[in-house]
Amino acid sequence: MSGFKFSWQAIAAAVLLIGALFTLPIVEAGADAPAPSLLIAATIAALLFCAIVFDGSRLAAGVRACFLFVAAHLAVFMLMSEIAGKNGSARAAFFLLLAACWLLAWRCVTLLSSLRPANRTAKTALRLLIPAIFGAWILIIWEAVTRGAGIPFILLPPPSAIGARIANSLPVLAADVNQTIFKAVIAGYVLGCGAGFVTAILADRISFLRKGLLPIGNMVSALPIIGVAPIMVMWFGFGWESKAAVVVIMTFFPMLVNTVAGLQASGHMERDLMRTYASNYWQTLLKLRLPAAAPFIFNALKINSTLALIGAIVAEFFGTPVVGMGFRISTEVGRMNIDMVWAEIAVAALAGSVFYGVIALVERAATFWHPSVRGGRA
């Protein structure tokens, strides 16, 4: 074995594999189900064994990672198709094989992270692939454990069921997204960020206002502002306006504090330069100080994107028309339709990520000069 060198993940996977071979078959033989085939179990075991040996060989890390990737995912795919339709019938071998697959996938990620590709596209692809594998394995383990151990549907539905639910109830979800995001969140976000921005410019101009507002703004960031939701519902009614009002209050202060900080970010030298150009207040503001404040402003916009979504959804717990994401979540929980709740959460997560992602993209385009975007050091 002189040419072989095994990682601890591979050794652990080998131990699990041997353990699995002693506890076959993978699934319980049901009364009406056909006896589980040993052939598939043998194929999975062989696949994993090959992967372990391959991993120990002296081939290039990239090649080994590719092989591990294919082997681990093929094996887990076969495992999942074995358990399909037989929820709760998994035996110890199933979980041992699953763990072995997971360890090999981890080994694959370790190999991938140690790669130092020369060209940029490969680097970007790698930067996306590694977290993607991690995310995929969360879903795989979730699916495998809920199906394998037969966890009751109302406790934790498997991801596949949630996916099916999303596909089946697209119109309902679309109406909720329209009500919560396109009406309440967007309106509140624009108003809140806009008001915060304008107040920040005012506070920057009048130093008395800045000295008074900044400590208050910092203090407010620690307060549970979300609690004003019932008051807003009382003032503005059950429609989307009350949710937008909550969002306005939640987004105002982060924007104010960050913009005020950003407006002071430009250096003395640069401000002096503007003065030698005889530029007036507005010219300095537009050409120097606002661009210099852009990273801070975008930071606030990003923080606010999450806050806005939370504010609108939580405000809906206090009363809505019969549509909206928060409304759907609280009623479907009451009816124990947990898969619908998860579907709504998945949509909310997707919306939140897209919202954040769009702002991040705009930020990259707008602050292309900033060291954190150029990839250099500040």
């Binding site: 981890w106 990620v109 370790t110 991938l112 992270s113 140690s114 930067r127 590694i130 977290p131 594998i133 991690f134 995310g135 109302i154 406790l155 934790l156 008395f208 206002l209 000295k211 008074g212 507002l213 400590p215 208050i216 203090m219 960031s221 620690a222 307060l223 549970p224 979300i226 609690g227 004003v228 019932p230 008051i231 519902v233 009382m234 003032w235 994107s305 999450t306 979504l309 939370i310 959804i313 939580v314 717990f317 206090f318 994401m325 928060g326 979540i329 609280s330 929980v333 947990i338 709740v341 998860w342 709504e344 959460i345 909310a348 997560a349 939140g352 990520s353 919202f355 954040y356």
Partner: protein, 292 residues
């Protein structure tokens, strides 16, 4: 004297402005209802009297500051702590789950940060997901977590604390990754020349360097943790806690109670953040940090 002019005067002026604006808003918003009331009772009152009445309605749309202050004072100091109406009682319930969630969240955050700093594979695969995890409006699933955990027999503090944990681990994890990586290359090289093991470098260099970052992020985390605890109490018919009080008051349109609960929550938040900041300063000083 300097801090008086630089801080206290502007802040008090603006706070006074807010209070005055609040009174004006209260009179303005409560006036229609009071006018209606007067017309039905065939009462004609002068302007001053009318304004006085708008500020002392039992269930106003906007309660006046003194009504809220009175309610807070009464329910904080004049009631028995075990009473269902005592704000101290409700704040205590919320505080318990906040602290539990905060402890879990801080521990989890530190653990994740240590993993990320030391294991390359974790750094590459986990970090993007940690950031993505916070774009999920987790508060939205708070009711579900509580109902589901109740279905398998876990009730009480733990479900609420879990929501707080989820909200509070993120700032700690991000802050600690930054903190554990904050030692300069020079210092790391020095440890290298001492032939220090990774374990020794961790305890003698990385951990002390990360302490200021830890306390800064703990301040954010404890505020987030309180929000999690309050929202966790909202939708599931919890019987006690600031969130439950808020929800109850909103069902019965008890606006003064609602505002009082909000004030109680804010006071708790400020106390907690202040406490963490205070602890941070003590630790800083005992570790020999010089004031910057």
């Amino acid at each position: 004297m300097d801090s008086l002019r630089a801080k206290i005067i502007p802040v008090t002026t603006i706070l006074l402005g807010i209070v005055v604006a609040w009174y004006v808003l209260a009179v303005f918003m409560n006036a229609p209802f009071q006018r209606d009331l007067d017309r039905r009772g065939n009462v004609t009152s002068g302007t001053i009297e009318f304004i006085g009445k708008t500020l002392s309605q039992p269930k106003p749309i906007v309660p006046a500051p003194h009504q809220v202050a009175e309610n807070v004072f009464e329910n904080t100091f004049l009631r028995k702590i075990t009473s269902n109406r005592s704000l101290v009682y409700h704040a205590g319930i919320t505080l318990a789950s906040t602290m539990m969630g905060f402890a879990f969240g801080t521990a989890l955050g530190i653990l994740i940060a240590v993993g990320i700093v030391h294991v390359l594979a974790l750094d590459r695969s986990l970090m993007p997901w940690i950031i993505a995890s916070q774009t999920i409006p987790i508060l939205a699933i708070a009711p579900m977590i509580i109902v589901v955990l109740a279905a398998i027999g876990i009730t009480g503090l733990l479900p609420k604390a879990l929501i707080s944990t989820y909200l509070s681990f993120f700032p700690v994890a991000v802050g600690m990754v930054k903190g554990l990586r904050s030692p300069e290359i020079m210092h790391l090289d020095l440890m290298h020349t001492y032939n220090a093991s990774a374990w020794q470098t961790f305890w003698k260099l990385r951990v002390p360097a990360s302490v200021p970052f830890l306390f800064a992020s703990m301040k954010v985390a404890i505020a987030a943790s309180l929000v999690g605890a309050i929202v966790g109490e909202l939708p599931t018919g919890a019987v006690a806690g600031i969130g439950a009080k808020l929800l109850n008051a909103s069902y019965f349109s008890n606006t003064i109670d609602m505002w009082a609960a909000l004030v109680a929550g804010s006071v708790v938040a400020l106390l907690l953040v202040g406490l963490v900041g205070f602890a941070g300063r003590i630790v800083d000083r005992s570790m020999g940090a010089r004031p910057a």
